[in-house]
């Protein structure tokens, strides 16, 4: 039972990370680093919340989250691709801006409420029949809609990246943009699309926290999970299946650390448990660096003239 609960929680926690990480994957595969992931997730959580609040419909909220994520993906694109601002800087700038902006606008809209402002959130969706399967049913088929979307995005991402011309172009832009250019495609357009898809998925991932996991918006709602998603891309070796594994590991590790907390554990200080995903990422980076499987032009602006 403990194991089932643990795995179910892990699968659940991994969902939004997975969405965000796949978003980052698109961006990085076109050669741009999106350090603004954290801020864009926050924006998504905010946008989803506000839209749902005013429309009463979480599906519209989802749409709002995606749109606002795209908007800031676009902004990061303008900075990093068109203006060729260093990609680390542009991402940091976006994070700083969004952490202030979302909370400020929350204040503008909701003032200073004593009780948390809540919205009508997504309910868990147990998939008929499948969720009745013993063990697996509870682990896999009793989650929020967004979590199912997350796992469906994995084969989709794989298919797009490796089986379509768009994916081939994306991968080429991240490896050697000049080739894409000489093949008559626009590196700029591809990179923008990577950024915008990345933003959209970041927004979607963020909305999970304000529309499914919780039904409120708060300043710490993302709490560094954008960076975890960022790490999962590396840990997952820049491919969708690897990222799936990476986020599952992070999700299960997270669920495990919570269970350690409630079990009254005294052996390992809690802080060390919290460190583990980061340390895992560092170790994974070490393992993968030798093989240098990262997109070769990742982080390098493309200059045509």
């Amino acid at each position: 039972m403990f194991l089932i609960n643990l795995l179910a929680a892990g699968v659940n926690l991994a969902g939004p990370l997975l969405i965000a990480a796949l978003g980052e994957l698109y961006a990085e595969r076109t050669g741009v680093l999106n350090i603004g992931m954290e801020g864009m997730m926050l924006a998504g959580a905010w946008g989803g919340f506000v839209t749902t609040y005013f429309t009463g419909d979480p599906w519209l909220g989802l749409l709002g989250a995606i749109l606002i994520g795209m908007l800031f993906g676009l902004l990061n694109g303008v900075l990093a691709i068109t203006m060729k601002v260093n990609q680390v800087v542009s991402g940091i700038a976006i994070n700083i801006l969004l952490s202030g902006l979302t909370m400020y606008l929350y204040r503008v809209i909701y003032g200073i409420p004593l009780l948390p402002v809540t919205v009508n959130p997504f309910q868990k969706l147990a998939i008929p029949f499948l969720s009745e399967i013993p063990v697996l049913g509870k682990i896999l088929f009793n989650h929020h809609v967004i979590v199912y979307i997350a796992y469906l995005l994995v084969p989709l991402a794989w298919f797009i990246l490796y089986k379509t011309s768009f994916g081939l172009a994306i991968r080429s832009a991240g490896e050697k943009p000049a080739v894409v250019d000489t093949a008559g495609l626009s590196v700029t357009r591809l990179r923008y699309s990577g950024m915008i898809i990345g933003g959209a998925l970041a927004g979607l991932a963020g909305s999970y926290y304000s529309l499914a996991h919780l039904n409120i918006f708060a300043n710490n709602i993302i709490s560094g999970r954008g960076f975890i998603a960022f790490a999962a891309v590396i840990f997952g070796g820049w491919n969708p299946l690897g990222i799936l594994c990476a986020t599952l590991i992070f999700g299960i590790a997270d669920a495990l650390s919570t269970r350690f907390l409630t079990s009254g554990n005294q052996f390992v200080p809690y802080e060390f448990l919290l460190m583990t995903p980061y340390i895992i990422t560092i170790v994974a980076t070490l393992l993968f660096s030798r093989k240098s499987i990262s997109p070769a032009s990742l982080g390098t602006p493309y200059e045509k003239e």
Binding site: T164, S165, R171, S172, V179, D181, A183, G184, L185, E305
Partner: protein
């Protein structure tokens, strides 16, 4: 060749400004159906820029382009491809980690949507066979030798329906045999009314394959002549704007090699170097080099030249064998040791290895002196000395720059190479390794570099000249060694060597041995 009323492609009055240069200035050229047009010019004359404009990579600041007589707008390579223009760039435009088929179909309209790799691979295989070579479309590009990569490039252009094939310095990376095969391919290609533009620095190639020649200088159009009505010396003169020798005069009697009884300056014995997979890229290579001589290492590229150069530069560890300098064994494997042992090194790739483009000339000149006097003492920089040093060398080597603070990036290729050579020689080496020292340079610059190497020999230094250019070796070297599959197959005095024999040796055939057998 029949005169045609309407040329295939015509560029008229093309002008192109970059941020700080005018790369093309009212250039007009035309290419006719069924011909090979060569474009000649010194480094920076604007050849590549002009072709990049034709291919849609750059937008011209002014000028028009006509195809079969009607004006066209080429806003991007997509337009160019659609109009039957293909280009093989100097630096290959292939994604190393992707397969051949992926590289070829990238961006093709016919392949929008879901990829049909199998189908395309089969088609590509067929086309390759038609062109007379065989490839495995699923191989990754990074696993292919340069020659094959170039074929993939050509295949890519033709597969996309190129009728005009632009080739930017295609021969710089090829072996003589490969060059011949390439030319054969080009001749086949134009037979059906297609055309090709060939950019090169090698006049002999122009004379052997081009139908007409266009010369650019300083971004301006100079003249277009039919090959039949010109000769190398005239072309050279058009390029540089004045009379110029086609090659340096090598007076082998000045500072000739010391008597053979002298102990060699450098001795390599049975040196083996293994690559990442454990294959020997140098396979028990032995050679000897004496002070005051230039030894040329000829060979088809990929036979261990790079490894040989890097071993002597201390950039590659030796797994077996012995290297002696002045009779003392030394351990290779660190660039620092080699520099301390007074081995100078002129790398093939000046821009990414020989220089730091974003440092000034002055700082590039101290690149190897960072840990010793006179420019650094106790770890502190002594700036006045470095300034004086830069002034002295800029004057001595005729480097075209306002002062030592000019960034290396802002120099032309030839002058960049001069900075490298100035630095290496100013460290007073006993041994100079020159690895493809004139790659990509124009005639004037080549002559200057050759001059400097001859002067180094005259000053009693030993020079190991590793080059894939046979003419270069025949001009400069006193002895010639042929490298084949990681070992020196044979060493000959230059007087006793013929181009034919060396060519065969490069292919691994030792005629005398065969005769003996």
């Amino acid at each position: 060749m029949v005169e045609q009323a309407v040329p295939f492609v015509a560029m008229k009055g093309i002008t192109k400004y970059f941020t700080n240069v005018k790369a093309n200035d009212g250039v007009s050229i035309d290419v006719r159906h069924g011909e090979i047009l060569a474009i000649l010019g010194e480094n920076g004359a604007g050849k590549t820029t002009l072709m990049n404009i034709l291919y849609g990579l750059y937008a011209p600041s002014a000028g028009q382009i006509f195809i079969d007589g009607s004006e066209v707008a080429i806003a991007s390579p997509k337009d160019a491809i659609a109009k039957g223009i293909g280009m093989v760039h100097q630096h290959f435009m292939l994604v190393p980690s992707h397969s051949i088929v992926e590289n070829i179909i990238l961006g093709m309209d016919e392949n929008r949507g879901i990829l049909r790799l199998k189908q395309e691979a089969a088609k590509i295989g067929r086309l390759a066979a038609e062109l007379g070579f065989e490839i495995d479309p699923y191989r990754k590009v990074k696993e292919l030798p340069v020659g094959v990569q170039q074929r993939v490039e050509i295949l890519k252009a033709i597969y996309r329906g190129a009728r005009l094939l632009i080739m930017d310095e295609p021969t710089a990376v090829l072996t003589p045999q490969e060059i011949q095969e390439l030319f054969k391919l080009l001749r086949n290609f134009i037979r059906s009314g297609n055309a090709a533009v060939l950019i090169t620095h090698k006049l002999n190639e122009v004379m052997s394959i081009a139908d007409r020649v266009t010369v650019l200088r300083d971004g301006r159009f100079i003249r277009t002549v039919a090959k039949a009505e010109t000769h190398e010396a005239e072309l050279a003169q058009m390029m540089v704007g004045r009379e110029i020798a086609l090659k340096v005069e090598n007076r082998r009697d000045v500072g000739a090699a010391r008597p053979a009884e002298d102990p060699p300056l450098l001795r390599m014995e049975q040196v083996t170097v293994r690559d990442a997979h454990g294959h020997p890229s140098l396979n028990r290579l032995s050679l000897e080099l004496r002070a005051g001589e230039i030894m040329g290492i000829a060979g088809v590229s990929g036979n261990g030249q790079e490894e040989l150069a890097e071993v002597l530069a201390g950039l590659r560890p030796v797994s077996q064998g012995r290297i002696e300098l002045n009779g003392r064994a030394m351990s290779a494997g660190s660039a620092q040791t080699m520099i301390r042992n007074r081995i100078g090194f002129i790398p093939a790739d000046r821009q990414s290895m020989g220089l730091i483009l974003n440092l000034s000339i002055r700082e590039n000149l101290l690149l190897k002196s960072y840990d010793r006097p006179p420019f650094f003492r106790n770890g502190l920089l002594r700036k006045e000395r470095t300034v004086a040093n830069a002034e002295r060398l800029i004057a001595a080597y005729n480097i075209k720059a306002p002062d030592g603070e000019t960034l290396a990036r802002n120099l032309s290729g030839g002058h960049q190479q001069k900075v490298v050579i100035a630095r290496e020689l100013s460290l007073d080496p006993e041994l100079v390794i020159a690895f493809q020292p004139t790659r990509g340079l124009d005639i004037g610059a080549i002559n200057y570099v050759h001059q400097l190497l001859l002067e180094a020999r005259a000053a009693g230094k030993a020079v190991l000249l590793i080059s894939t250019e046979l003419p270069e070796i025949f001009t400069l070297a006193d002895r010639i060694g042929v490298i084949y599959q990681g070992a020196i197959l044979k060493t000959l005095a230059i007087a006793a060597a013929t181009v034919d024999e060396i060519g065969l040796l490069m292919a691994g055939v030792d005629r005398r041995e065969e005769a003996a057998r």
